[in-house]
Subunit: 354 residues, 2 copies
């Protein structure tokens, strides 16, 4: 049997080192195409294990391809990965960090994280009402008594957010306070995050439908020359969730787990995060209150409308947000240039090629 | 060590048969006081295994204690259990069906469902933002990166909704379609249902804080003389969730599991449910849109305000809802009569005795 979506999914990996971690993923990833986004010094040679089908972009490539619009792609931060989303021509993207390995389920079996993400994406979401037995489409489960029948078809799934065993995704203060904490709890569930509820989206183990939500998966301005880091995926998650809620798309979280091997340095993280820790107290209420008008009927239109609100409302907190709002617009311009609309897909703002 | 909350929690059991099921629960329930609500023929003698401390109310008792207000308590339906909530003088209530037995966790150990409910109730909820590692207060877990620090103290927990292994809580159509489906998935998580999200609350395995939410735990008019059944707990859940969201209280779902032994007859259930299956398509949007004003600062005031909205908006669907709205008011009158306010508790509408 051919691997699911073999020709419809790219794996995007941001990295600054040799990709030895792929060896462990070989049985699962080898059939797929990889897009490697090399961060840092473009002169450095990144080794990719033999047998993988890949394209690799370094900073010079990004600058060449995007020209002045390359300014919207972060440098020296894993936020650069979103360039890979933009150059992909596939319907689906899976992105994973290079310190993430194959985890085992409680029975000791290797977890095929990618297969589970694909299953999550191909199966509807249920953001409009909570199902107490979690994913109602899972084998052996269903909608429980009291679940409206009119909602049982669900909505298309745009995002599948996977979790991590071993090193949990904690912020620097929590890392500092609990340096030895490890996540050993395997929660056997996938659930839809309800409409109107925001969540902290982690980019370590994440899959999404590019056609449905790709243009909103912008990881913002982080790292080199920016006052903030480690909020790239959070930023994307807040924007994505608001837009999914508006467009009637689902976001799932839970399975699959990967094995996160290495805690990043909490002192370095604290330096990157500390402004974000203040700012998120305003950013989250901003996104919780954000509304989009009816004429925002494509992801691009939603995203541009959101960028205006970011400039107007968050710009008061720090000039950084005006710069970020500009970058959000630049990102969409770059996305549309690399993904020109054509034919009937145009009305839906769908990218080219599917 | 004394059992947790030994003198602050009552176990409420609605039944029509001898309570042999208590034998299996003896190690867990025996230290607590039981309130047994006998449904059906009051002349029937219900046997309670020796050694349990209990009070038992049959229909004659309910009529005697409530007088004309007894009309708000359902007959020939497990909805009658809410009479037990009203006569309890404790801060916490756990309610369980008499076809529910002790379940085992994946390691084969008996699950002390009551202890887990107590833990859920004593520990805060997080309805304002989703934590991807589920209960952030669980051992080995915490708030993940991107979770606002201002929200990490959480809110008081009003409700702990437990789940069921073996027979899932399905409606009649799903029972008919999947007669052999059993729930074998042990999901090792407790989560807060986000603010603004409704859920199907099942009364089979449920605990709550009477002081925080008791007066909203009305199980409606079901069974004898009513056009509907099996929506008692659903009705309570919708009202409770709207009021908890308004008052800043949390509702949790997930662990603990009980073993649900016996599927009820799907043909009988269909007869009870079929109006509810139509009506819930309107009831749920009604509750999703329901808002309460600032002056609704006690559960009682919230509940009375909700009863007005039920009469006004749902009354159009069927005369039943006008009758139900009346019963909601009667229920609050009866509650306040049995639980007179006193001293400083008065301002908060807290029941007597704590």
């Amino acid at each position: 049997m051919a691997p699911l979506l073999k020709d419809e999914l790219d794996i995007v990996i941001p990295t600054i080192r040799n990709l030895d971690f792929l060896e462990m993923w070989r049985p699962f990833f080898q059939p797929y195409h990889l897009i490697i986004v090399q961060d840092g010094d473009p002169a450095k040679k990144i080794n990719v294990p033999e047998g993988f089908d890949y394209e690799l972009y370094n900073r010079n490539d990004i600058n060449r391809i995007l020209g002045p619009r390359a300014s919207c792609i972060s440098f020296k931060d894993s936020a650069c990965r979103c360039f890979g989303y933009m150059v992909s021509k596939k319907k689906y993207v899976f992105t994973i960090d290079d310190d993430c390995f194959v985890a085992k389920d409680p029975s000791g079996k290797d977890i095929d994280a990618l297969a589970k993400h694909i299953q999550n994406l191909l199966c509807p979401s249920t953001p409009l009402f909570f199902n107490t037995l979690y994913d109602p489409y899972a084998e052996g489960a269903d909608f429980v008594r009291g679940y409206p029948f009119s909602l049982r078809e669900g909505l298309p799934t745009a995002v599948s957010h996977g979790l991590w065993l071993n090193i949990p995704d904690y912020d620097a203060p929590t890392q500092l306070v609990k340096p030895r904490e490890r996540n050993g709890r395997y929660v056997d569930a996938v659930m839809t995050i309800p409409k109107g509820t925001l969540f902290p989206m982690c980019g370590m183990n994440l899959a999404f439908d590019r056609e449905l939500i790709g243009p909103a998966m912008y990881f913002g301005l982080m790292g080199d020359g920016q006052p903030i880091g480690r909020y790239d995926d959070m930023w994307a998650g807040w924007c994505v969730k608001v837009i999914c809620d508006h467009l009637g798309l689902g976001v799932k979280t839970g399975l699959p787990y990967i094995w996160h091997s290495k805690a990043s340095n909490p002192f370095v993280n604290l330096k990157k995060e500390y402004k974000g820790i203040f700012w998120q107290e305003d950013i989250i209420p901003f996104f919780q209150a954000a509304t989009l008008t009816k004429d925002c009927d494509t992801v691009q239109k939603c995203y541009i409308a959101l960028s205006h609100q970011v400039r107007e409302k968050l710009g008061k907190i720090d000039p950084y947000f005006a710069k970020l709002a500009d970058a959000m617009v630049t990102w969409i311009e770059a996305w549309d240039t690399l993904n020109p609309k054509e034919g009937s897909a145009e009305a839906n703002g769908k990218p080219k090629g599917k």
